[in-house]
Structures are given as structure tokens and as C-alpha cells.
Symmetry: D3
Subunit: 228 residues, 6 copies
Amino acid sequence: MYELGVVYRNIRRADADVAARLAPLGSATVHEAMGRVGLLKPYMRPIYAGAQVAGTAVTVLLQPGDNWMLHVVAEQIRPGDIVVAAVTAECTDGYFGDLLATSFMARGALALVIDAGVRDVKTLHEMGFPVWSKAISSKGTVKATLGSVNIPVVCAGALVHPGDVIVADDDGVVCVPAAMAAKTLQAASARQANEGDKRAKLAAGVLGLDMYNMREPLAKAGLRYIDD
Amino acid sequence: MYELGVVYRNIRRADADVAARLAPLGSATVHEAMGRVGLLKPYMRPIYAGAQVAGTAVTVLLQPGDNWMLHVVAEQIRPGDIVVAAVTAECTDGYFGDLLATSFMARGALALVIDAGVRDVKTLHEMGFPVWSKAISSKGTVKATLGSVNIPVVCAGALVHPGDVIVADDDGVVCVPAAMAAKTLQAASARQANEGDKRAKLAAGVLGLDMYNMREPLAKAGLRYIDD
Amino acid sequence: MYELGVVYRNIRRADADVAARLAPLGSATVHEAMGRVGLLKPYMRPIYAGAQVAGTAVTVLLQPGDNWMLHVVAEQIRPGDIVVAAVTAECTDGYFGDLLATSFMARGALALVIDAGVRDVKTLHEMGFPVWSKAISSKGTVKATLGSVNIPVVCAGALVHPGDVIVADDDGVVCVPAAMAAKTLQAASARQANEGDKRAKLAAGVLGLDMYNMREPLAKAGLRYIDD
Amino acid sequence: MYELGVVYRNIRRADADVAARLAPLGSATVHEAMGRVGLLKPYMRPIYAGAQVAGTAVTVLLQPGDNWMLHVVAEQIRPGDIVVAAVTAECTDGYFGDLLATSFMARGALALVIDAGVRDVKTLHEMGFPVWSKAISSKGTVKATLGSVNIPVVCAGALVHPGDVIVADDDGVVCVPAAMAAKTLQAASARQANEGDKRAKLAAGVLGLDMYNMREPLAKAGLRYIDD
Amino acid sequence: MYELGVVYRNIRRADADVAARLAPLGSATVHEAMGRVGLLKPYMRPIYAGAQVAGTAVTVLLQPGDNWMLHVVAEQIRPGDIVVAAVTAECTDGYFGDLLATSFMARGALALVIDAGVRDVKTLHEMGFPVWSKAISSKGTVKATLGSVNIPVVCAGALVHPGDVIVADDDGVVCVPAAMAAKTLQAASARQANEGDKRAKLAAGVLGLDMYNMREPLAKAGLRYIDD
Amino acid sequence: MYELGVVYRNIRRADADVAARLAPLGSATVHEAMGRVGLLKPYMRPIYAGAQVAGTAVTVLLQPGDNWMLHVVAEQIRPGDIVVAAVTAECTDGYFGDLLATSFMARGALALVIDAGVRDVKTLHEMGFPVWSKAISSKGTVKATLGSVNIPVVCAGALVHPGDVIVADDDGVVCVPAAMAAKTLQAASARQANEGDKRAKLAAGVLGLDMYNMREPLAKAGLRYIDD
């Protein structure tokens, strides 16, 4: 359940350096490194292709059709943060545009992840401020009802605590709990180191069937080859 | 993020009596009493109309197309519990049918809330075992990959801790944190007591405009009446 | 475009008797009689099966997550009316429950058609107050922003003017413009009179192919029968 | 790919008795007996609860918004058949109502499975003619473009050949290829015989964990129990 | 309700210069300037990013799977027009491709807004003819049933009269009634003039909380800051 | 119904040259040339714009959340093939990424068409390996359950036999049965030859109404022009 009308100012952020080093690994590798958990639903899409970021989460809970709290969360942003916005009901309205993006960038935010809609997407692209959202919509919002800032929120099906690391790219968005960040970086890096070697073999024509020793378990599971 | 492959056996359940008394108040009243938070997404629908229950949550995290952990969670059920099942990805398969329902009922479960599909719905109705789900599907599942039992889960967009109170009826499903249960019961009861009086007035033709003193704030907001 | 913050009090309603006689004809027959236009989108579903009504529209435009104007529209209801509610954005919140239904019934409303969510559906069923909606949701709403009453609205893709006739049943909802109501009643009645005869023939085993003389146009269109 | 403008008159139907005996086993058991394949997508829902049928498929391919071929297929129906209707594009229009149902019943059809919309659902329920469909809609259709009858069709994601057995109930719809019908009946019957015993044990409190000997494989997969 | 089988030739278009000056303001600013109304649903998306247009609406009502009337509407296009196409039922077929686009461009059309599907999108992009649609689909259509041209239509949930101004960009599509166009241009221009100043302040680090004087109303609404 | 656990090694592929010559014609023209059939549902979208390919299908049936069989199908790929992947249930998981793409490319595959999700889409774009999919998702998969390779599959609503020709571009994906490939190439080429002429006329201002002689049938259907 959500606590309403509160702003937590002193959150504990994951290590900034760890967050930064998770970015180039990407959401798929990080998600695998965590044991295939932590993903936001795949309806969250980037408003433009190619952005790849990681940062510490400042969270905000919004009311439907009301973006008041986005102004409140702006003050809590520190350089290297990613704002994660949840809504108390399903909503596709355009909560965020180029003015708020200007403010967020001035505060040092790297990106916005919002389980609702945004607008001014052409300008946001030109500004280089990446957003992952559920919708794009010109629909404006009011400023009438309180939500909260820096409480744990559920965004697109994933639980995000303030200070967790968010990794986002063209494949989606993953949340790494602060306490797991260092360990996840290690596992994800190992995983990636491993991939270069595999890629070279596969490019040379080696089959995954052989490289991963799958032929025996497949046969054991009953796979039959038919030649007629 | 989710911890995989663990079963917590000693969870702290909300007071059983408080849970039982929340049932007749219903999900809408309870949701209002909590400040309009705690709801699962409205795509969660009962498999038959008319059931209205409240109980303490035992939670289970499932893998896509795999219902192995439903057998694991069965052992953790105590009388008065409601099983809350989340999946690590979007899935509509039929994870649960009459055999598992027989087992759950034998353990004292009151209901299942599952962010996926179920089957044997005609038999479940005859057995009187209510289910709130995202889908109905004959599609069967495998038993191959571990999830967890009694960890905090995100089910249909709502965070549910083991031991929280779940209130479910034809309007939807709401989660009341264990620590808030007693206070919520009080607020919801007060709210309901209040409603009988209002209902009588409205039935007698009194308008909400007058009963709630809305005419002045509406006029102040600029509402104009036009008679041509 | 919508005019906001206005309530039109003196609307011209279609003939009440004509409206009443359209009800038993049903939405499909009426829709056909109008030339296959006037339907609301099929995502509009009754909250319980079996209701079949027709009445004159009083319209209301709502803001997302805000049911203030439902109290304003209540005052404009006259016996035989059906309230048609549109929202300025996509929203599934529960705008309407048993208290508002009590008020609407006291004013003589026959039904509600709302392009959003409702709640207390079990009680609404017991009260016999039918609703056609896009969703069922416990999610509550605020009272903060003005919409309008008795302006033309687009509800679930259909344009509805105040005073139009609404015909709703298990198949869906159709809007008959006031100026077309009498003519539509005539055409729909003729159509239905015609159906008894057809039904008897079809029940006796006559094929539609013969009854409607379709064999020749089908052959002309190139239909071939293959017997191997 | 589809052959257009043809009607195959002499199809080979699966054994009628086998089909009849598959009905009480239900779609979930039959689907499991086939190795978890053959299901139509879960968006196919019955227009009323409680119907449970099995019959031999006569198939029809329809054009969007055009129900001409439903009259053509009517002539090909034999007692015990279920009509399976596919559309060449996504469409929710109401292709089928009480008149066509009267004709289908007079020909001996047991049900309709249609990847589109139907109407007159209240009357269809009263007539006891079950339909599984993607939508309910008053929207009428034209009669202008040819499709085909008794060609293989893809209906809701499943390939259906004329003469296959269709099993449909509240859980969904499954297609059993004619050549597999007898074997599937045997496997499904064995499966069900088995279930009575399991149900009794589970009702007596035996856990699936023990009945299915899952404790060892779960431990081997790494499941840990935590007692604090 | 829709009048079928008619083409209105002499519609009254909004001032062409006003339309042209609305284009650079964009759909979000124009929508705000009108009081947050007039938007088409956000499922309407451009087939390629970056186009930004405004023009006067010529409207067309299509039948499902039938693009006959697009040829009829072509003749009614004048330079500076945007064709707005609605369908009498939900449909994703590809009604429009490069040949029709060639014809529309030859007539002076600036864009197409269609509540259905289009195809040849790569070629349309190369031609520089922007389209906002609900879907992209290769599915072809027939030419068999009449709709209408230049009647009021509901397109993606918005009422559009022939001659209204359509403003479309990457954020969506908004309809400005002809009678409101001049006033809306004024309000939108004022709004935008205002934005440059705000943007500079926000870029300099001034918070919206201060620039919009939100701290007091937030405190009054009960917002609490917590520092632990 | 699907046969599980089998790999057919000796499939008969459509003529490679015919396949190659279908590519530049595109999915819309090919679909029209086949009589408007053979299309996959329009939810199948390219992961990046601009790719246009045609090749012979090797098919694979996958289990939900399990990509084991993608390694099995890799071995069956020959230069000029397109892998067509279906799943036994609805699933959006990311079955395929840059490592598998490296392997597929090394084997000579031209593209992947998958009724599920993929990941590493930025890298796939850089590699120039086109994919048409239902979703993009970082969600990983397991390797535990058998499907099949080179059996007929239903992918996004279309029946695909191994060896059929797949034509895919920005408009969608169409399947041409091997036996129809040569004839379809002829019809599609004729159709396209025809288009250059039409395009020139339309660009010169000739109306489709005149070029296609539509005025008479439109008048006959009752179209009326109104000049007031």
C-alpha cells in the first residue's frame, strides 16, 4: 500500500560508479545476471531508439491525470538519478513534456521512466533526454491531488525502491535493488566477458547445440530427427 | 527484485478476525478507507459473480508456463489464507484447476488471486472456490523452474507482502498491509455506517449537490447553467 | 471540441413513447434499421446479463479520475432518461456506485452508459439498475475539475446529442438521433415483423441460400462446389 | 494460404461416437491428453456459461464485415457438427444472430466457434445454442465477397481441418485432428480415471508435494526453506 | 448517427492562414489552449517520426474492409486539406497506400488521419506524405459499400466536422473546430511565447515549485517532508 | 495439432530464385496477388524500419518462455532461409538476441519472424539482421521443454509450411505456399508493372474515380452529391 502526501528527502542511493558501469551492459544482460527477475513489463518503450542509461532511482507516485508531484520530485533529483514514476490507476495522459525535462536535466537527471504518457517527444529527442513510457499523448494534466516522493512504488509491474539502480535501453527497463547492485555488476560483467568468445565461435559456424552441449539432453528429452 | 528458490515458513499474518470483518465491507469501501490506494489492476476479474472474501495473503512467485510452486505454496496455507500468485513475465496459461483447488480447500484457503490464467472454472464454481484471475485458459503448464513462496510480490500492479489482508469481490481486489488492517477496518466501518444515512436521503430525492454542499464550489470553479 | 463548465437545462428529448417502443426491438435490429450506423464500440458491456432498455439521453462529459459532474447531471435527469457519460481521456476508474445509482433511480433514470469504470456492481444488480461500461473497478475518483452536462459527447466512438434515444441490451448500445427516432421505430418494427416468418421457415429446414435467393449471385461471384 | 470461392462438400468427419465421448472430458483434459497442443487462443469465450460440447468441424472462411458464407456453410452442416469460422482479417462485427442459429440448429449443428463477433446473445442463450467468439457486437455485416467452406482454416491461432473434433467448454476450445481422435479419447479417459483418486487424496489433506514425489526434485533444483 | 451515401461538395473551411500558423505550435500546445479537449485517442500514431502539419479537414466515413470512398473523397480535396477517415466498425486493414497518396498529393492534401490501417509506409515516408493511423497492415480492401464524404465523423474518439483544423505531430492529433480556430491560435501563441521564458528559468535551475508558486498550495493540501 | 519433439531434416523449399524476386515486390503487392490471403496479423512489426526480405521458411514450434528449440532449428538453416517461430501459448518473452542472430547469420538465414519477443534489438540493427516480432523484451527464457522443427505452424494467425516463401517488409509479413510461389510472382509482377502507369496518371491529377471507372457503379449504388 502507498503512503500518500509524503516526500522522503534523505534516501540512500546505490553506488553511483556501480550504476554507471551497469549502463553499457544493458537491460537483458543485467536481467539475466539477477536470475531473470526485476524487469518492468515490455509495454514500457523508449520514445526514441538508441538511448542506454543507468542511474539511481528517485521515485514518485502520481494520481491519474495529475502531474503535480512531478514538480515536487524535481527538487529531490541529484546528478545521476533516474526518475521512476508510477500512477495509482491506469492512465495514458501526457504527464511530462519539454519544460519539465529542462528542469529535470538542470537537476542532473539522466532519464524518466513513467507508467503513463508523455508529450513533446520530438523536442525531448532533440534535447537528448530519454524517456521510457507506456504511451505518447498530447493530453494535459491538472495539479490538484497529492501523491508521494521517494516511497517504494510499483512501476509497470516491478517494485522499485528509492535508490535502486535502473538500467534502461532499447530492450526495456530493469530495476536492480541497491543492495544487489555490486554483485549484479560482477555477475553481469562476467556474463558479458563470456559472450565475446561465444560470439566468435558462433560466427565461425559452431552451433549452439555443440557449444552448449545440448545434443545429449535433447536426445534424453526424446527429440527425434526424421529424414524423409 | 525477487529472491528465487526460497520458501518462508514463518510469516506474520494480520489478525484473522480483522480480516474476516473486512470481507463484508467490500473492495471499494476498503480502498476508499485506505486513501484510494492498494488496488490490483481492474483486469483481475472473478471467475464467477457473487463471491466476496477477505483473508491473509500467502504469496507465491511463479515462472511463465510453470505451476510447480503452486504445489509448494499449498503446504504453507493455513485456514483463512488467500493465495496470491504473481508471475515473472506476462502469461495467460491455465496454472490452476480443480485438483489444486481441492488441495487448497483442504488446507483452509479461502480463494486464489493469480496474475495469469486458470481452468476447470465450471468445477471451481460448483466447489465454491473463488478465483480472481487475468484469464481463463485450458493451456497446461510444466513443472521445471523454481520461484519462491512468501516473499513480497507484485501482483497485477500491487505490492503484496505475505500476511497482508486481501479483500476481493465483484468490483476487484485490494491489498491491505497487515500493519494497516485494524485502522483500515475502523475507517471502512465508519465509512459504511455513514452510507446508510446518505442512501436514504438520496432515495428520497435529495441531490448529492445539496447533501455534499457542492453548489458553492461548483459555482466557484465557474460552472454555468444555460436555459435556452 | 467540447465546451467546458456548462450545464444545458432545457434540452429537447425524443418522444418518450417512441423511445419506450424501441426497447423491445433491441440494439441489433435498431442498428440495422438505421443503415448499420450509430453503434457504440463493442467494448461497452453490461455489468449483468439480461437488461434491455431504451430512453432519452442526458449527457455528461467527465474529466479523468473525477466524478464531480455525475452529481451535477443527476439534477438534470427526468423519468425515462438514460445518462450517457464520456471522459476527456481514456480511464477505467470506478466513477459510479450504489449511492449515485440510488440518486439516479430516485430521479427516474433507466440506466447509465459510461465510457469508463463503475463499482458496487453486485449491489447495482440487486437494485436492478443496469449499466453499460468499459470496465469494472473499485478505484475511487476525486471531485476537482469541471466538465459539462447536456452538450454533444463522443461516447465509445459514437456521437450522442442530449435528447437522442439510447437502446441498450446484451448485444451493445446504439444511439438513435432524436430526429430519426420515429422513422427508425417504423423501420425496425417492420424488420422485426418480417423476422417471425423467416424464423419459422429456417426452423423448418429452409436454407437462407434459398429463402434469400443467394444461389445465383453466389454462382455469379464465382463460387464453386467440389465433391471429391 | 487460403483457396477462395470453393465449397468442399464431401469431407471426412471424425467418428461421431468418439466426438460425443470427448465432450464430458472437457477442453483442459483433452488438451493435456494431446501433449498440450491444439488450443484456440484464450480470447475465445463462451457467450454464456455452462455449455460443454464436442462435435465434428465444418469450417468456413469469412471476409471482414461480410457474413455471406455463413449461409453457404449452413447447407453443409450435418447433425453433430460444430461450425468453425475464421476471418481473413481482424474483425469484431456481429456476423451471426438468432436467425442463422435457427437455421444451424435445424441442420443439426451443436455450436458455433467464430473468430469474430456475434449478436442476439440473449436469444441464443434462450435457444440453447452455444457460441464461442472473440466479441459480442450488434454491428451488422454485408453479403458481397466470397470466402470458402470446408478448407483448412486458422481460427484464433489454431489450425482446424474440416472433420476434426472440436471440444469446447467454459475453459476454452480445443481442436483434435480427426486422425488423433480415438487415441486422444483413450488418453484423456485414462487421465480422467486417474483424477478421481488424486482428488480424494488431496481432499483428505495429502499434499501434491508428496503425492507427486516433488520434494526430491525441488530440493535438487535448490529450493530452500527458511524458518525465521 | 451517420448519413450514408452522400458527398457534401461545398464545405466551409477554416481560414487557411490560421491553420498554417497552428502547425508549428504543435498538438500539445493547441490542446492546452483549447482547455484540454479535442484530442484523438493516443493509439493514433504517425507512420514516421518528425512530421508536423496543420490543415483543414475533409472527412470521409468508410465501411469495414472497404476503401471505395477514399477515391470519392480524393475529388473533394483542395490544397491545404487533411483527409480525416473514420470507419463504421473497428478495423485494422490497410485502406491506403502509395497510389492513393500520389492522388491525394496531386490534389494538394497535406496528410491523412485514419482510424484504421495503411500500407506502403516506406514509400509514403520517401514521398513525404505523413499519415496518422491506428495500424499498419498489408491487408487489402474491397470496393463494394457506400459511406459518405464531408459529414461530421467520429475519428479515434473525437468529433470532426468538415472544415475544422487538424493539428498533428509526433505527440498526436488534435481537432480545432473552425469557429474556434482564430481564438485558439491566439491562446496557443500566447502560451508558447510564455514558454521560452519559463524554459530559460528552469534551465537555470529554478524549480517549478517556485516558478509556479506551488509550495503553499502543496503544504495546504497536506504535503509533508520527512528527513530521516 | 502439433507433433512434438521432432525435427524434419529434408524439407522441400520453394525455388530460391522465385523467393528472391518476390522480395522487392513487397508484402502488400504479394498479398493482393494471392487474392488477399496469407497475411500474418498486423501486430507483427519489424524491430527496425527499412528491411525488405523474402526467403524460404524453416519453421520452429516453441514452448512458452523456453527457447531451446531455437538452437535446434539453427542447424537446419540453409542460405536464403527465414526462420518462422510459433509458440504454443501467448508469450512476450525475449527468446532471441545477438548470439543466436550471429549463429543464424553464419548459417545463412535472412531474417527471423517470431510470434513472441526478442531482445538485443540495437545490436541486431547494427548487425543488419531483421526480425519481425510481437514484442521486444529483455525477459530471458529457459531450455527445458521440447517443441518441433519443420512442422507446419500457425504463426500470428497464418499457417506456414516449411519451405513456403515468406515476404516481409515495413507493411508486415505474408506467407506464400511453395506450390503457389511461381504463379504468385507472375501475378505480383504484373500487378506492379501496372502500377507505374497508374502512378503517373494519378500524379498528373487524374482521379481514381475516372481511371478505375467508378462513377457509374457509385451512382448505381446510390451515391448522391449535395452542393449546398
